[in-house]
Symmetry: C2
Subunit: 185 residues, 2 copies
DNA sequence: CCTCTTTATGCAAAATGTTGCATACAGCGA
DNA sequence: TCGCTGTATGCAACATTTTGCATAAAGAGG
């Protein structure tokens, strides 16, 4: 429902091609809203048909042509209105938590490994967030208002990541103690 | 992909009907994995066809008949294997964060309200988590191993909720200061 | 020259999830 | 008796997302 609005949001400042959008999604907004390139290409065409985006083909040297999309006035208006409309949270679904409901003496070792991997992955991600924060949001107070909103989203990513790490540590501790108790294998 | 496994997980200790499962999903596992009753009914039939669940009709007094589902041995085995397989995180998608990318002097008031509502909703939820923790997990050390896994999932819910509240407070502060600066309306 | 990677876009099928509706029976309160 | 709520199950249509495949041109490295 709101993939369209996430895409338009990504186009507020710069025009982009589907390919560039897919990469930007991986790096910024996509940290809060994942989308594959197939989804993005499809949605771009729909939005262009609706008149919310304009498209123009751009020839490039040494690379295939690309199609640049940009927000139209109508698109900007639609986006502005959308902010006031009902919003919904799509709760995350995590296999790992369901797996924990199945914890047993047999699989405890495996689950410790999986949690360890999650921890590692989250560390990487926090490192990326931190680079972004230092690079673009070192002094949030002096940023234009819109960028402060982006900063708040980044803060959510950072806080959630730190919380996740704390949980991993707690879980690894508990599981290590339990495995110890029952005799390590 | 793993809705089936979430359902089987919910049936580890007790047999349940689709209706009861839908309610259990709202209260326990569903806090980490949402599913509507339509999805649940469909999945139950598929799982029964696969031989992972058995079904038996139960007549009731004063209520419509129901169909009770229980894990078969094959189901338990499939679940046990699944724990070792690749797992994936489905990142949450939150309109609110995308909206924040569109922060403006015009909509700042609205976004403050929305964040306030999120805060309120999360408080309610934390209250529920806390009741569960006190009721069933006051002393996690003495629980059987499987229940300790469930406890860890609950801890994730609690930590994530507390982090969310902290973020709401931070965001509300920042937005209040900014709105003040630009002249309150 | 051949293969691999990067840039760039797309179709089609399958799986998943949402929305709206339908049915049926019991008990409760007005 | 009428409407409401709760229990209980389901279909059908639609929207969303994932998966697998396909194409094509340029540059890099062996």
């Amino acid at each position: 429902m709101a993939l369209s609005h996430a895409i338009m949001t990504a186009l507020i400042e710069d025009d982009m091609s589907g390919y560039e959008l897919a990469k930007a999604f991986d790096a910024s907004l996509g940290l809060f809203w994942h989308a594959s390139h197939q989804q993005i290409y499809q949605e771009l065409r729909k939005l262009a048909d609706k008149g919310w985006l304009n498209r123009r083909e751009v020839a490039q040297r040494g690379k295939p042509d690309k199609i640049l999309y940009g927000l139209t006035l109508a698109g900007r208006e639609a986006l502005g209105e959308w902010v006031y409309r009902e919003s919904r949270v799509q709760e995350s679904k995590d296999d790992l938590l369901v797996k924990l409901y199945n914890l047993s003496a047999e699989n405890i070792g495996h689950l410790r490994v999986e949690i360890g991997e999650r921890r590692e992955a989250m560390m990487q991600r926090l490192y990326l967030y931190e680079r972004i924060r230092r690079g673009h949001y070192a002094r949030p107070e002096v940023l234009p208002l819109r960028r402060q909103g982006v900063f708040l989203a980044l803060r959510m990513g950072i806080l959630a990541g730190e919380q996740y790490l704390a949980w991993c540590d707690e879980a690894l501790d508990l599981l290590a103690r339990e495995q110890e108790k029952r005799g390590p294998r």
